[in-house]
Amino acid sequence: MTSFPRKAAVLALTCWAAAAAGTAGLAAEPPSLRKGPLPMETSCVVCHRELDGAALEPVTRAADDVHFQKGLACHDCHGGDPEAGMDGDPSAAHDEARGWKGKPSRLQVPELCGRCHADPAFMKRFDPQERTDQLAEYRTSGHGRRNAAGDAQAAVCVDCHGVHGVRPVTDPRSGVHPSRVAQTCARCHSDASLMAPYGLPTRQHEQYQASVHARALYEGGDTSAPTCNDCHGSHGAVPPGVSSVANVCGSCHTREATLFREIEARKGMDLEACIQCLICHSNHEVKPPTPEMLGVGEGSTCTGCHAEGDAGWAGAATMAEGLGRLRRRLAEASEQLDAAEHAGMEVGPDRFALQTASDQLVEARVLVHSFDIERFSKAAAEGIAAADEGVAAAGRAFRELRSRRNGLALSLVVIAAVMVSLILTIRRIERR
């Protein structure tokens, strides 16, 4: 019963104010953590422990709940009298005269949570880093605006964070941990019947699952890889507007974004009005860029806007050609070095030299976003030169291997000749 963290107990003794207030309706201020029984010793717990089903659930999940761990109790959200009703008469605890509120409606939830979470003075007592702008952000979001307009279907705090058993975001079991965010959003956003009234698509999660970001997150275990909220925001969840897509992507892909801005400045035009990241890379289904995406062939994303004969068409073809050559040459070099190594040659130092080519490939692929043929070609040419050097090194290794085999053949002939002459000598000696 008293197995709460010591921190909670200390908090209970030192911080809880004596004043009793905020028991009627949804008060704007946070619960004044009054003196009284510890969270697990209230009459709420004593009675609900004996019940079952939905009435028991809040008690069984309490131990996992960060609020309980920090010293909050049932009545801090639900109201009522935690000391009354111990005699077996639940109506005393559930007495509206004593502040009983019952189950908050979905429309009330954001404000209820906001009582504490939007109060900096209150929250800083638990964590000086804690944000308190969630409610304000929420009000700007699609969810929040609909909630304010009286749409009880719109997502509220508990839909993502859970209720009774709320875990902190750092807990991997929490629905809002990076590894589970997409699943959490998908509970509603992949449900066609729920989305139909809003006319929203439902394939985002499916598309995201196929993306390079999801792969980094789920297969690579890289929790810094973006999931839904990294682009859409957490509490202020809205689709990024057309004007901010490049900023959203650019928060991680800075070099591409910088190049993009540079050309914008150079050409003196608002590129974003016509080109955005997602035109080529898609939004949810961001696939690893393929060679086909660049150029003028099948699967090219350039030909959507550029027509044969214009400068963009020619530029795309040039870039695709350069990138293709670098890629092929690099593959050829590493393949041949592999073969040389497989044949027993030591090519470690040559492999290091080849690193320049792979670095230049990365560089050239980034420089595609400068839409500047000259800059791109310089990087590509450096890479191709390094890859050529790798191919040449493999060639040298193979020539060396051939000369070794020729030397071997020669020496085997010599050795065989010695053996033959020795055998003939033995025979001659022994005939005597």
Binding site: C252, Q355, V414
Partner: protein
């Protein structure tokens, strides 16, 4: 067989054949050895110590990539001296570079930054860069694994 003591021609031939082939074998054994013992032109491979640059190669606030044990390293001249780190980003193994404008080590791939102590300060890199020791001996800046 026809040969025997009475046929000096055959005997002579056998002696010649034996002598020549043994001689050729000696050559084929001694030639590689003679080549082996004469040291190659290339200097011996740098090992755990490498001359990363010469004094004067770098201005203050300038960085340089050098080869260290088959992997890239980065040497930086800061206001108060030299620092060297592994140049392989701890995120996805891209090669990092020094950004004089930011006074940070920066990875172009996903905008990861490391401070001048090699600590990962922003972006996706999960770990600091491995630090190497730098010593200046005469004209050489020597980097070694600490």
């Amino acid at each position: 067989m026809m040969d025997g003591p009475g046929l000096p021609g055959r005997r002579g031939f056998l002696g010649w054949f034996l002598g020549t082939s043994v001689g050729a074998m000696c050559v084929s054994v001694l030639y590689p050895i003679a080549r082996y013992v004469s040291p190659p032109e290339v200097p011996e491979a740098p090992t755990s110590r490498v001359v990363a640059a010469k004094v004067g190669d770098l201005r203050p606030d300038q960085g340089k990539i050098f080869r260290f044990g088959g992997k890239p390293g980065i040497l930086i001249r800061t206001g108060d001296g030299y620092r060297a780190f592994s140049a392989t980003c701890t995120h996805l193994n891209c090669t990092v570079q020094f950004r004089p404008d930011l006074r940070h080590i920066w990875c172009a791939c996903h905008n990861g930054t490391f401070d001048l102590m090699g600590r990962n300060v922003s972006g996706p890199p999960p770990r600091p860069l491995e630090e190497y020791q730098v010593n200046v001996a005469g004209d050489d800046i020597i980097v070694s694994r600490s």
